[in-house]
């Protein structure tokens, strides 16, 4: 996977994440984490090391656009990328339920990691309240959007391989 493609996808998804909540008057809790979805997408196709690097890059970009310290999301996404990179070899990736489970798991893990890093700086959040109100709907939205994007990407890849085979024969 080309570094340029990964960088463009991560940057584009981060910009989308900044612009979309402002442009579309969605329910506030429905923040779709496009960058997290992009990190998971690349992590599902790479080994744990590269997946972690993609996570660092994606998190770093989110950090630059967010109002907090630089490094909070980089750390969180790096760990998520690494875990997904480890898991992906044993995952049946043709099954969208498995991919949805990975996205939901990552959507739950990301705030836990972010909250723990913020707690180091004395910023405390009400885990349970925020989980029920924000993490659950966001995780569900991430899973739906993620699976849709993965499906589109797979169709494009299938079409490309069909064209390639056609031209070969």
């Amino acid at each position: 996977m080309k570094v340029r493609n990964v960088a463009c996808a991560l940057l584009g998804s981060a910009l989308l994440q900044v612009i979309l909540p402002n442009a579309v008057g969605l329910y506030e809790a429905l923040r779709i984490q496009f960058t997290l979805i992009a990190v998971i997408y690349f992590s599902l196709h790479e080994d744990w090391f590269r997946a972690a690097m993609v996570g660092v890059a994606g998190g770093f970009i989110v950090d630059l656009f967010s109002g907090g310290r630089i490094g909070v999301y980089a750390l969180s996404y790096a760990i998520i990328g690494m875990l997904v990179g480890r898991v992906q070899e044993r995952l049946f990736k043709d099954n969208f339920l498995a991919i949805a489970a990975v996205i939901v798991g990552a959507s739950f893990l990301s705030p836990i990691l972010v909250f723990n890093v913020l707690a180091l700086y004395g910023i405390k959040m009400n885990y349970l309240g925020l989980f029920a109100k924000y993490v659950l709907p966001s995780a569900a939205a991430n899973a739906v959007v993620g699976c849709t994007l993965f499906s589109i990407s797979r169709r494009i890849q299938d079409a490309r391989s069909r064209i390639w085979r056609g031209s070969y024969w």
Binding site: Q17, A23, E28, R31, Q33, A52, S66, G68, M82, V114
Partner: protein, 270 residues
Amino acid sequence: MSGNRRRVSIVVVLVAIFVFLSLPMSVSRSVKEVVTGFFSPVLSVCRSVTDKLGDIWEVTFHGDNIVRQNLRRQRELLELRFELAEAREKIKQMKSLHEQLRRAAERGFEVIPARVNGRDPDSWYQTLLIDRGRRHGVRRGMAVVHGDNFVGRVIEVGGRWSRVRLILDVQSAIPAVTLAGEAPGMVIGSGPGKLKMTLIKHNDKVKVNDVVVTTRLKPVFSDEAPLPQGLVIGKIVSVSQEEEGLYQSAMLESEVLFRHLSQLLVVVPK
């Protein structure tokens, strides 16, 4: 790359992340200023494009069929009635805003109108990107209002953009006072959508529906603007004793619909 080298690389990256995390906020701010400044025009263009796309969507999907047009007219009529009611409400609000601006002018404030270009990528930080920056006279620490209500303070300033930390943010702490009993306290963000006034003395009288306003705060840093006093933060909806019993705390409700903020005023103290 061999297994050991990979492990070393990942440790190096993690150490680098921890170094970034331990950097002072001023350094983080400088790095972000460069990056957000670079993408600020992109965000402005995207906002214009999304506005235009909304118009195109309206014309394309709501204007080709007579029946649909008829239904649309009916809906428009209904909407216009609502809009009329809203307009009347807005006139009331405008009068109130005008009054507030007049009072602000009396107190020595000017305002800079700004549009919201983007929001924080995640729900945990409550910040906004606005399209006014240093070139328009915005400084760090300036108060930002919507209508009559205080919504936050400017925390980062670029050439043509600024970042506003909303009062809902968990890192926000604003000195405030109740209008009725003049009980001082500190309004802090308690996560998305929640405001809490803490450090109210045990003896001070606070009750539900008391209006809470900002008190003057002298800037800590030389490049920071002072926080003006008298900007409305919200109304008290519940009061509770803190566990230790030394202080009381109160939950507040702001009139601002924070997720629908599109235009704001940055208050410039003269």
